[in-house]
Each structure stands twice: as structure tokens, then as C-alpha cells.
């Protein structure tokens, strides 16, 4: 009965871009092991898992582009400076990771409410994309060897696993609340609506 309109897709893309921004600028969660982690990557993978590959990719890209002029990246420094810095690899990895996570979840959309399935998709995406592009750029920018860069990066593993647990809990709850979110679209016009 209710149409899936292109405007709803635009609103979801923008809404999740704002959500990632809020995740990145909220005060860090204190974790048991003493290292505070920002929720930025939680927001990125969640966006993929909830919105799927196309909308997820566009949403994270919108967040990144808006971040060029708005201080909405985690760490608080103003926007584009991050691309000149050592963390650029992580930022560039985000839309790709969201797209991969969304692709994996939506490929088996009837499993989108299964915790273990969504958790695995998120973890795969963060290890295959975020933890490769991130340290590669770090090595290049900070003039470190690959071994050094990858071992710095490994410090984020425990936090990432914890964030993926929360991501999967939240994403499955959202898919249960809105079963038609992952429904196949009825028209092809949706793809064409936005390309932020």
C-alpha cells in the first residue's frame, strides 16, 4: 500500500549521514579496557547493514563530503584536514565498507534479523576494507613500514569487535521494526535519485 518513494530514500540517506555525524561527535563510550572508542565506525557499518549497498554507500559518502566543510569527523578537528592526515585511509574506506556490509546483508535479506549473520557481515567488512586501507595510508603518510602501520592498527581490533556486536544488535532490531526497509524496490527510479 505505502509506496517506496525516492524522497524516502533521500531522507534515509540524509538521516543516516546525520546519524553517523552524531555518532562521531558524541562523547566517546568508555569501554572496559580503558581505551575510549568513538562510535563513528559503528555508524558507518550500521548504515550499510540497515540501508543496503546503494543507499548505504551514498549515505556514508554524503557524510564524508559534508565533513569537508563541517567538523563532523571523529576527533573534532575541522573537516578536510583529515584527508591531509594519517587517518585519510580510514575515511576513504568507510563508504566501501558500508557498501560491502550492505551488499552482504541484503544478499540474504531474509537473514537481516539474525544477529550472528549481521555480526559476521559487519566484521568481514571492517577487516577486509577498513583495516587494510587504513594502515596502508598510515604507512604512506606517516612514513612507517607496513609492519609498523598494521601493528598500530591492530590496537583497534578489540574495540571494533565490540562495536560490531552492538551494530548487529541494533541493525537486527531495526529490521524487525521496519520489515519493508530491506524489501526489494518496485521501480528502477530509486537508483537514479541521488549520487552524493
Amino acid at each position: 500500500m505505502t509506496r517506496r518513494t525516492p524522497t524516502t530514500d533521500v531522507a534515509l540517506i540524509a538521516g543516516f549521514a546525520a546519524l553517523i555525524a552524531v555518532c562521531a561527535i558524541l562523547p566517546d563510550i568508555k569501554t572496559g579496557i580503558g581505551v575510549p572508542y568513538s562510535l563513528q565506525t559503528f555508524g558507518v557499518l550500521l548504515t550499510g547493514a540497515v540501508l543496503g549497498p546503494v543507499r548505504g554507500f551514498l549515505s556514508v559518502s554524503l557524510y564524508l563530503v559534508a565533513g569537508l566543510v563541517l567538523p563532523i569527523y571523529s576527533g573534532g578537528a575541522s573537516g578536510i584536514s583529515h584527508y591531509s592526515g594519517v587517518t585519510a585511509g580510514y575515511l576513504v574506506a568507510f563508504p566501501i565498507a558500508a557498501a560491502l556490509c550492505g551488499f552482504l546483508v541484503y544478499r540474504n535479506r531474509h537473514n537481516a534479523t539474525q544477529f550472528a549473520f549481521v555480526f559476521t557481515c559487519g566484521l568481514l567488512s571492517s577487516f577486509l576494507v577498513v583495516h587494510t586501507l587504513g594502515p596502508l595510508n598510515l604507512a604512506w603518510r606517516a612514513d612507517l613500514s607496513l609492519k609498523e602501520a598494521f601493528s598500530f592498527d591492530a590496537a583497534y581490533f578489540p574495540g571494533d569487535i565490540a562495536k560490531n556486536v552492538v551494530m548487529a544488535l541494533v541493525a537486527t532490531a531495526v529490521h524487525r521494526a521496519f520489515p519493508d526497509l530491506a524489501a526489494r524496490k518496485r521501480s528502477a527510479e530509486v537508483e537514479a535519485t541521488s549520487a552524493a
Binding site: 546525520a18 567538523p71 583529515h82 591531509s84
Partner: protein
């Protein structure tokens, strides 16, 4: 709350304020490639001088530049210490100095570029893609919706956090993140309906 999501733009009339957005982005890109491709004391020194000069021309206030650097100062100090220990002080200066210079140049970009001009530039760049079905006005709309969405989402985040606290669940991130995300989805759908009713999906 550390950052104001409303941005670092500072109105003005400097040459950087008048330069097209694309030119500024391109300049930054070129300089950041130069910094790595010609790594050396001279390059880093030159970049630092250039960065300070640009900040002065653009009228970047000292406080603003300091704020831009504050977020990364810990990482930079650690990196400098590590590089000094592993490869000597000169190498540390070359690497970290270049990063600081680029950070300052990036601050020049954010201080002299308003969101409006950024959105205008992006819609202009996307215009050629119209025949492939891209609708630049929907992209511009997505930007506006997102900017409007940030304070709204912050408010919802505050409410769901308070609600979780009221139920003694403040240590459970799921207890406030789930309702937050569900409300974000519900709000996006209501917004999508309202936009549709205003004919925005019809262009």
C-alpha cells in the same frame, strides 16, 4: 559536546573566499601529493611557510587554527616521538611538519568555504551526470536534510540516553542506540512522505 556542527566558516573577502571551491580542493590535493612525493627538509619548511602565509591572507584566527590542530595534537606528538626514536629528529620534523602544514592549509579551506557554496559547487559538478539519471537538486536536498538532521539527531540521542538512564540502563549502549536508530528511521520516513507531498520526488 566538543564540536559545533554548524561549521568553521568565517565570512570574509580574502582571495581565498573568492576562489572557486574546486580550485581550493585541487590545490590542497596537489600540495598533499607534493608533500609525500618530494619528502625532505626543504619541502616541509616550504609548506610550513606557505601554510602560515595562507592562514594570514585568509584571516584565519589563531584560536581557530589551534582548535583545528587540537584534535590531532596527541597523534602528532606520538608520531613525532616515535619517528625521533626510530629515525632521528630530522626525519620526525620532515614527516610531522608536513602533516601540520597540510592541516593548516585545510583549515584555510574550511574557514573560507561556506556550506552553501560547497553545495552549489557539488550540484554544478553533478550537472553533466543528469543524463545518467542523477538529479543534482535531490543531492542538494540531501545536504540540507542532513544539516537539519544533525541537531535533531543530537536531540533524539539526548532523549534516548535519558530514557535509558531513567530505566537504569545507562551502561548498556544497545538500550539507547536501538531507540535512537529506530527514531531516525521513523523520522526519515515521515520526512520522505512530507517531501513527496510537497512534490519533491516529482521533478
Amino acid at each position: 559536546m566538543t564540536a559545533s556542527p554548524l561549521g568553521d566558516y568565517q565570512p570574509g573577502t580574502s582571495v581565498f573566499h573568492r576562489l572557486p571551491v574546486g580550485a581550493k580542493l585541487l590545490g590542497l590535493l596537489v600540495l598533499s601529493v607534493v608533500a609525500v612525493a618530494f619528502r625532505g627538509v626543504a619541502t616541509t619548511g616550504g609548506l610550513l611557510v606557505l601554510a602560515v602565509a595562507c592562514c594570514m591572507v585568509a584571516g584565519v584566527r589563531l584560536g581557530r587554527a589551534a582548535r583545528a590542530l587540537r584534535g590531532v595534537v596527541v597523534a602528532m606528538t606520538l608520531l613525532a616521538a616515535y619517528q625521533t626514536w626510530q629515525r632521528g629528529a630530522e626525519h620526525a620534523f620532515v614527516v610531522v611538519g608536513a602533516l601540520v602544514a597540510l592541516l593548516l592549509l585545510a583549515t584555510v579551506f574550511t574557514t573560507t568555504t561556506s556550506v552553501d557554496r560547497m553545495v552549489d559547487a557539488i550540484t554544478r559538478w553533478l550537472e553533466p551526470l543528469r543524463r545518467f539519471g542523477v538529479k543534482p537538486e535531490l543531492v542538494a536536498l540531501a545536504f540540507s536534510l542532513m544539516i537539519r538532521g544533525i541537531p535533531l539527531t543530537l536531540a533524539i540521542a539526548g532523549e534516548t540516553r535519558d530514557a535509558a538512564r531513567a530505566r537504569g540502563l545507562e551502561r548498556n549502549p544497545r538500550a539507547y542506540l536501538t531507540p535512537l536508530v529506530i527514531r531516525v528511521v521513523a523520522h526519515a520516513r515521515a520526512t520522505g512522505d512530507a517531501l513527496h507531498a510537497r512534490g519533491l520526488g516529482d521533478e
